[in-house]
Symmetry: C2
Subunit: 381 residues, 2 copies
């Protein structure tokens, strides 16, 4: 097996899991948040900075690297780790999500998906075997099965057909993966789908667990549904997954959802949220959201987050950050991205400590209060 | 006096000067190239990275900081050093160059210049005293007199009137500077103008030297004239300047012109060239210019410059850099900027060593050959 999940402890207050995930490029402490490096770079950050803030694993996107620079080029470079100068673990998605969210004029067949490139409109095809081949070229430590992420809401009938096809695709991908001999050093996860339907989530989980993947993802959430729906689906799904395998909730990066996900038994998360909002001048702080590009910070010579000890907060003021954003200076994007990622990675470290101390519920309450999430209509992510 | 120039050695082969410039924020080895941080940031770089590559002093632009964020805000922040987290020396220009090159509908009077902001068209005025006040607020170690940089070619009559006004402005600025008591910790340079006219350069230099500035700049060059004209004007000007004061040639950053300038007795240089071309995917290497975003580097898995030991060249390939540029990724700009600045700072270190070894002419010949500058029609900057 390419990876191994080591369970360390269960939080007595919440049931959250503390663990270690052993991968070909090192050991990850879980639960963990994974910064997203779509195009073989976490936008604005150097690999050394990522390591400095405690990134243990990053995510990169199969679809984007397939199109640019091309998986053949990454393979020739010696794989994604070497290409981008990152020697810790990498997880890649399958390209499925982008095929369905970014491409034009797509047509789903049993074989796979025909669609047009979002870059130049050229005709492309991606199916479960192709998604494996690309990820083999990239050489990621953890790979994803090719899946369809159905919208919420979709009809039960549509989601049922979609889930059953996604399961057949997972089976084909797994067979191809094993046949190519990559299962020894790259771990392929199955992705549980099923929208908001309990019976379909159960069917998806049951069928995938029977295939014995080394880890399981929960997909099709955080696609616009209210958070209570997401939490309900999580509760209906996670307990169906094996306890000795890692569980990855795809596309989640708001502080509240990370904590709620951990409480419901999730080990791994990723999201573009912290890096995307950072580039728009919006930051996560111990007191909630700070839109540092706003005029009120023009003469604010205090740190972005007075309780933060990251590089940005130790060396720069809100006034300087605002100036950089108003002047369209790259360093502004760097400094807010650095802080936001540090904030989430640090939050997950605190969460791991709380599990160890059996007080994750207390931690959650204190954090929600400080972050402003207990207010009516909180807008603090 | 705020600064002191210590002459160490004259190159027996060329007459180039090796020295040390003592400033309120530390000692600078000369000759030196100064990276440009227009808006209180050297574009894409952190202060720590600037220090890592050997930046001893940076330049920042009075005009730009006056407009954004405003010199009052920088002053409130504790000055430019503190605002931007840079504790080594800073040189600021006077704003004169930008007033004449960027602004709209300008009208020159004896008092100063009336013009419209390049950002929002608002009416502005800048004169020699105002240029001092802004630089006092910024707190730069080295300040520039307010001057007019006349175009080449301009008529002798125009340049004569311009030079004489610039001299009167220099005198007014110096008096204001001393009256405000800032001459103890901020060194104000006079700027020699005079276009391509020997007699006007002589007049400008003579009048400014009589005012006993702690250093002298040579302005009005690198404004489109052929390099032989620039070198001739330098030869006609530098020998008029006092040997015990630093000499700064404004706006020069191509490797050949840096070396030729040093040979003609210049101590300090600045230019946006290395950082500007870097952001366009163009780099300076030991073998000449490499436009790394070009398709020929798509599968080139060698370093940008095989003879360079900078962070970029030690860790990344041309193929990766090209990918980052094609994908509009910020890290690409960071890595090429880092390399180009390292290249020029390293070049100046080699130049200082050559002066010490009395072989700067030999060094120049070898460098020009390797860089491709001895070819017919060299296009290697």
């Amino acid at each position: 097996m390419a990876i191994r999940y080591e369970h360390i402890k269960t939080c007595k207050q919440t049931g959250a899991r503390l663990g270690k995930l052993h991968t070909p490029h090192g050991v990850i402490d879980t639960p963990i948040f994974m910064p997203v490096g779509t195009l073989a770079t976490v936008k604005t950050m150097s690999p050394e900075e990522l390591a400095d803030i405690g990134s243990q694993i990053i995510l990169s996107n199969t679809y984007h690297l397939w199109l640019r620079p091309g998986n053949d080029i990454v393979k020739e470079a010696g794989g994604l780790h070497k290409f981008m100068n990152w020697d810790k673990p990498i997880l890649t998605d399958s390209g499925g999500f982008q095929v369905f969210s970014l491409s034009h004029r797509r047509k789903i067949t049993e074989e796979g998906v025909h669609f047009r490139s979002h870059l130049d409109g050229s005709k492309l095809f991606l199916g479960p075997e192709g998604a494996m081949d690309i990820q083999h070229d990239l050489g990621s430590d953890i790979m994803m099965s090719f899946d369809e992420c159905a919208a919420i809401p979709s009809t039960h009938d549509y989601v049922k057909k979609s889930v059953e096809r996604t399961t057949r695709w997972a089976d084909r991908g797994l067979n191809h993966h094993i046949k190519k001999g990559h299962d020894k050093h790259q771990a392929l996860f199955g992705i549980v789908q099923g929208g908001e339907y309990k019976d379909l989530r159960e069917q998806s989980a049951k069928d995938l667990v029977a295939m014995d993947f080394p880890g399981y993802s929960i997909g099709g959430l955080s696609v616009g549904e209210p958070k209570p729906v997401m939490y309900r689906v999580l509760e209906e799904t996670v307990h169906l997954l094996p306890e000795d395998k890692p569980r990855y909730l795809m596309g989640i990066g708001s502080p509240d959802a990370l904590i709620e996900g951990v409480i419901r038994g999730v080990d791994m998360f990723d999201c573009v949220l912290p890096t995307r909002i950072a580039r728009n001048g919006t930051t996560m702080t111990s007191q909630g959201r700070v839109v540092v590009k706003n005029k009120i910070y023009e003469r604010d010579f205090t740190p972005l987050d007075p309780n933060c000890d990251c590089y940005t907060c130790k060396n720069y003021t809100r006034a300087y950050l605002r100036h950089l954003f108003k002047a369209n200076e790259t360093l502004g994007l760097r400094l807010t991205t650095y802080h936001n990622l540090y904030f989430l990675l640090n939050l997950m470290e605190d969460v791991r400590t709380a599990i160890l101390n059996d007080n994750l519920l207390d931690f959650k309450e204190a954090f929600f209060e400080s972050y402003g999430l207990n207010k009516e209509n909180p807008k603090n992510f």
